[in-house]
C-alpha cells in the first residue's frame, strides 16, 4: 500500500475501532454492546496486522474477540434469565440508575486528561527504545525462529509460566464460585442442542478441521506466527463446539483426568525449569535442546490452555439451568 492510502486506511480503522468501542460502552442494549465489543475485537486484530504483529493479531482475534465474545454472550443470556425474576423485588430494577451528571462530567474530564496525557507521553517518546536488536542477537540461541515465541517461551519464559498459572487460577477461582451442592457436577449449563440441528451438524463437521488448525498453529509457532495460546484457543473453541452441540458432555470438575490435563502444561513448564535449575540455570534451555524442549512445553501448555479456556467459557459447575433455588439433585455428585 502506498503511504497515503495506508494512512487513510489506518485512519479509517482507527475511527472504526473508536466507534465500535464507543458503541460497546454507550449502547443501551447490553446484547448490542457485547456485539459491538466483538466487532471491536476484530477491528483491533486488524490493527495488529497493520502493526505487523501477526502473533498479537492472532491472539487478539482468538482470545480478545472470540473467546471473550462467547463468554460475554453467554453471560448476557444467563443474566437476562437471572435478573428477570427479581425485577419486582428491587424498585431500582436491574438497570442501575444513572450516575449524576456532575460525576459523569468529572469522570469524563479525568478520563480525557489521562488519555491526553498518554497521547502527549506517547508523542514525546524518544525514537526507539525497544529490544528488537537484543532479541535478534540472541534469537539463534533461543532454539526457535519466531522471535515472539523466543521471547515467550525462552527469554521471558517465566512470565509465560506465570501467565499459564494465572489462567489456571482464574479457572479455580471460577469454580470456587459454585454452590456447595453443585460441587462435583459438570461445569456450565447442560446443553440441549436439537439433534440434527445446525449446531449439531457444525459440531460434527468442524472439529476435525479445527483440531488440525490448532495443532498446526502450535507447531508453526516456533518459526512463524502462532503458538501455544493461539493454538490452544482454537482447540478450546473446537471442544466448546463439541460440548455445545451436545455431542459430548463437559467433564465433571472432579474428574482426575481433567485436572491433570489442566495442570499438565504449567507443571511440565516448571519441571523443565527445575531441571534447568538443578543443571545450573532456572528455566534455562540449553541451545542444543531448546527447540525440542520448547515444543514439549508448548504441547503441554496447549493441552492445558485449551482445556482451561474452554472451561473458563463454560463457567462454574452448576445444576440444571443454574437458576436455583436448589433443585432436586438429579445427577449423583460423583
Amino acid at each position: 500500500m502506498s503511504g497515503l492510502a495506508a494512512t487513510g486506511f489506518d485512519l479509517m480503522l482507527c475511527a472504526l475501532i473508536l466507534g465500535a468501542a464507543l458503541a460497546a460502552i454507550a449502547v443501551r442494549d447490553l446484547f448490542g454492546a457485547v456485539v459491538f465489543f466483538i466487532v471491536y475485537g476484530v477491528f483491533v486484530a486488524l490493527a495488529w496486522l497493520r502493526l505487523e504483529a501477526i502473533d498479537v493479531a492472532l491472539t487478539e482475534a482468538a482470545l480478545g474477540a472470540g473467546l471473550t465474545g462467547v463468554l460475554m454472550i453467554g453471560a448476557v443470556s444467563r443474566l437476562e434469565r437471572l435478573t428477570s425474576r427479581d425485577q419486582d423485588q428491587d424498585a431500582a430494577g436491574p438497570q442501575s440508575p444513572p450516575t449524576s451528571s456532575a460525576a459523569r462530567i468529572a469522570t469524563m474530564v479525568g478520563a480525557a486528561g489521562i488519555g491526553g496525557g498518554l497521547a502527549w507521553g506517547f508523542i514525546t517518546l524518544p525514537p526507539s527504545a525497544g529490544l528488537q536488536l537484543a532479541v535478534a542477537e540472541n534469537l539463534a540461541a533461543s532454539g526457535v525462529e519466531n522471535p515472539v515465541t523466543a521471547v515467550l517461551l525462552n527469554f521471558r519464559g517465566w512470565d509465560t509460566l506465570l501467565e499459564s498459572i494465572v489462567l489456571l487460577a482464574a479457572l479455580i477461582a471460577l469454580w470456587s464460585l459454585a454452590r456447595d451442592q453443585d460441587w462435583g457436577r459438570r461445569p456450565g449449563l447442560r446443553q440441549h442442542a436439537r439433534p440434527g440441528g445446525v449446531m449439531a451438524t457444525f459440531g460434527r463437521l468442524l472439529p476435525p478441521f479445527g483440531f488440525l488448525l490448532g495443532v498446526y498453529l502450535v507447531w508453526t509457532g516456533s518459526a512463524q506466527p502462532g503458538g501455544a495460546f493461539q493454538g490452544g484457543t482454537v482447540l478450546a473453541a473446537v471442544w466448546l463446539l463439541v460440548m455445545m452441540a451436545g455431542l459430548k458432555a463437559a467433564p465433571r470438575v472432579s474428574s482426575t483426568r481433567l485436572r491433570w490435563a489442566l495442570i499438565a502444561g504449567p507443571l511440565l513448564f516448571i519441571g523443565v525449569g527445575l531441571a534447568g535449575a538443578v543443571a545450573g540455570t532456572f528455566l534455562g534451555l540449553p541451545t542444543a535442546y531448546a527447540k525440542p524442549l520448547i515444543l514439549t512445553i508448548e504441547a503441554g501448555l496447549t493441552l492445558s490452555i485449551a482445556a482451561t479456556l474452554a472451561l473458563l467459557v463454560l463457567g462454574a459447575p452448576m445444576a440444571g439451568d443454574g437458576l436455583g433455588p436448589d433443585q432436586p439433585d438429579k445427577e449423583p455428585a460423583r
Binding site: N154, W158, I172, I263, P266, L267, G273, L274, F282, L283
Partner: protein
C-alpha cells in the same frame, strides 16, 4: 540460587498438586511451608552476610530476561509471609481439611490451591525485578485474593469480591500502563536498569523529565496505591477482608496489600527516585496520615470484630506511606532515612504478623460464638484464654507498645521524624497509636467482661495455638530486632545505614 527457585516455585507447584490430589490439600500445603522455610533459612543468613543474591532466569540477563533478586526487603517480607502462611494453613485445617472418608467439597478443594497460588504470587512480587513480571504476579495475586473473598458464596462476600475486583482491575491496568510506558521510553523493564538511567534526574542519562515517565509514575503510583488500599482508595478493603473466612482474611489483610507496597517502594526508592518532588512526598505522607485517622475512626465505629480489624488495616497501611516524606526525596541521603525506611518495613512486618493473628483469633471466636458481633464476645476471655492472649499480644504489636516489632518500627520512624524536623509525622504516629489502642480496647474489654450465662462452642486447641504463635512472633520481632534489622538493611537502595550509629 536453588533456594530462590524454591521460594517462588514451591508454592506454585504445591498449588498445582493441590488441584489434582484430592483431599490432601493441607498436607501439600504443609510440605510447601516446610520447603519454603528451609529455603528461607538458607537464604536469609546468606543474604545478611553476603548481600543480595540474584537469580537470572533462563540465564538471560536483563533487559532481555527477568531477574529475581533476594535482597533484605524481599526476604523480610517473604519470611513474614511464610510465617503467616504457616499459621494460616494450620488454622485452615479445621475449616478446609478433608477427612479421607468423605466426599470432597468445594471449599476443601478450592481453598488450598488458591491460598498457595496467592503465596506464590506474593513471593514473586517480593523478589522480582521486572516490572511486567510483577504485573503478572499482581494479577495472579488479585485473582486468587478475590476468589478467597468470594469463597463463602454469600451475598455480602460476593458483593465485596466484585467491588474488590473493580478496584484491583483498575489498579492493575494503571500499573500495566505505567510499565508499558516505561518500557516504551527506556527499553527495559528491569528495575535496576531503570535506576541506572537516572530517570528524572537532570544530570542523568535521559536528561530532563519526560512526559511518558511522568505519566508512568503517576499511573503506577495510583494503581499500586489502589491495590495497597491507601486512603481514599481503601473502600474495598473492609467488606472484603471482613467477608472472607478467617484464614483467608488473615492472608488478605496481612500479606496482600504488602505486595503492592513493596513494588511501590521499589518504584520510588529504586527505579524512579529522581522523579520525586517534595509536594508528591508530602501528599503521599498526608494520605497515609489521613488513612491512619480515618481508618481508626471507622474502626471505632464498627460493632463487628472483623470489621474493626479490617479498618485497622486501613489505618495501619497509612503508616507505611510515611516512608515517603521521611526517607524519600531530599531525605533520601540523610542519616535518618535508613531509620525511617527500616522502621516502615518493620511496621509492615509487625502489622502483617499481628493482623494475621487477630483474624485467626476472630476465626476462633466465630467458631465459639457463631458470629463476630462485639456484643457476643462477653466471657470469651475465660472461655478461650489462649486466643485472648493472642489477641492481646497482637494488639500490643499493633498499638506499637514495647517490646513489639511495632514499637521498634514506631521508634525508628519517630526518631526519623524528629531528626528530620518533620514533627508532624510524629504526631500522626502517636495519635494513631492511641487511636488504635482505643479501637482495640473495645473488643478486648468486651471479651474480658464476665458473662456467666454465655455458652460457647468448643474450639480445638490446635486452632488456638496458631494465632498465639503469630502474635508472639510479632513481639519477637521487636525483642530480636537486631537480626531483621541488619537483614532489611541488606541491599537497601541508599547507603545511609550509618546514619543511626
Amino acid at each position: 540460587m536453588l533456594a530462590i527457585v524454591a521460594l517462588v516455585t514451591l508454592p506454585l507447584v504445591a498449588a498445582l498438586m493441590a488441584v489434582v490430589v484430592e483431599r490432601r490439600g493441607e498436607w501439600i500445603a504443609l510440605l510447601s511451608v516446610i520447603g519454603v522455610v528451609i529455603a528461607l533459612s538458607v537464604l536469609m543468613p546468606l543474604v545478611a552476610t553476603d548481600g543480595p543474591v540474584d537469580l537470572v532466569i533462563g540465564g538471560w540477563q536483563a533487559p532481555l530476561g527477568i531477574t529475581l533478586r533476594a535482597d533484605g526487603l524481599a526476604l523480610a517480607f517473604a519470611g513474614m509471609a511464610a510465617l503467616v502462611m504457616a499459621a494460616v494453613l494450620v488454622s485452615a485445617r479445621t475449616l478446609y481439611g478433608a477427612s479421607p472418608s468423605e466426599a470432597e467439597t468445594r471449599g476443601q478443594w478450592a481453598f488450598w490451591p488458591l491460598a498457595l497460588l496467592l503465596w506464590g504470587a506474593l513471593n514473586v512480587a517480593f523478589l522480582s525485578r521486572d516490572l511486567f513480571n510483577l504485573y503478572v504476579a499482581l494479577e495472579l495475586l488479585t485473582v486468587a485474593a478475590v476468589a478467597l473473598v468470594a469463597i463463602e458464596g454469600k451475598r455480602e462476600s460476593l458483593a465485596a469480591a466484585l467491588r474488590y475486583l473493580m478496584f484491583a482491575l483498575m489498579g492493575s491496568l494503571a500499573y500495566l500502563l505505567g510499565a508499558a510506558l516505561l518500557y516504551a521510553g527506556h527499553g527495559t523493564l528491569d528495575i535496576g536498569l531503570l535506576a541506572a538511567r537516572d530517570i528524572g534526574d537532570a544530570s542523568g542519562a535521559t536528561g530532563s523529565r519526560r512526559a511518558s515517565d511522568i505519566m508512568a509514575a503517576g499511573l503506577m503510583t495510583a494503581g499500586l496505591a489502589v491495590k495497597t488500599a491507601l486512603f481514599p482508595f481503601h473502600a474495598w478493603l473492609a467488606p472484603a477482608h471482613a467477608g472472607a473466612p478467617a484464614p483467608a482474611s488473615a492472608i488478605l489483610s496481612a500479606l496482600v496489600p504488602k505486595a503492592s507496597f513493596v513494588i511501590l517502594l521499589r518504584l520510588w526508592f529504586e527505579a524512579l527516585p529522581g522523579l520525586t518532588t517534595p509536594a508528591l512526598l508530602a501528599t503521599l505522607g498526608g494520605l497515609g496520615a489521613a488513612a491512619v485517622f480515618y481508618g481508626s475512626v471507622l474502626a471505632l465505629r464498627q460493632n463487628r470484630l472483623k470489621l474493626i480489624i479490617a479498618y485497622s488495616t486501613v489505618a495501619q497501611i497509612g503508616y507505611l506511606f510515611l516512608v515517603f516524606p521521611l526517607a524519600g526525596g531530599d531525605s533520601y541521603a540523610q542519616p535518618w532515612a535508613a531509620g525511617a525506611w527500616t522502621g516502615v518495613i518493620f511496621q509492615a512486618l509487625s502489622h502483617g504478623l499481628a493482623k494475621a493473628a487477630m483474624f485467626l483469633c476472630a476465626g476462633v471466636w466465630i467458631i465459639a460464638v457463631g458470629n463476630d458481633r462485639l456484643s457476643g464476645m462477653r466471657g470469651l476471655a475465660s472461655a478461650t484464654p489462649m486466643t485472648m492472649s493472642a489477641f492481646g499480644i497482637a494488639g500490643v504489636a499493633l498499638v506499637a507498645l514495647p517490646p513489639s516489632g511495632g514499637f521498634t518500627a514506631k521508634y525508628l520512624m519517630l526518631t526519623a521524624a524528629f531528626a528530620s524536623g518533620q514533627t508532624i509525622w510524629a504526631v500522626v504516629l502517636l495519635l494513631g497509636g492511641l487511636l488504635s489502642a482505643a479501637y482495640l480496647y473495645r473488643p478486648l474489654a468486651m471479651a474480658f467482661s464476665r458473662d456467666d450465662d454465655a455458652t460457647f462452642a468448643p474450639v480445638p486447641r490446635s486452632l488456638q495455638v496458631a494465632p498465639l504463635l503469630l502474635a508472639l512472633a510479632a513481639i519477637l520481632l521487636g525483642l530480636g530486632s537486631q537480626a531483621p534489622f541488619s537483614l532489611i538493611q541488606t541491599g537497601r537502595p541508599a547507603a545511609a545505614a550509618e546514619g543511626l550509629e
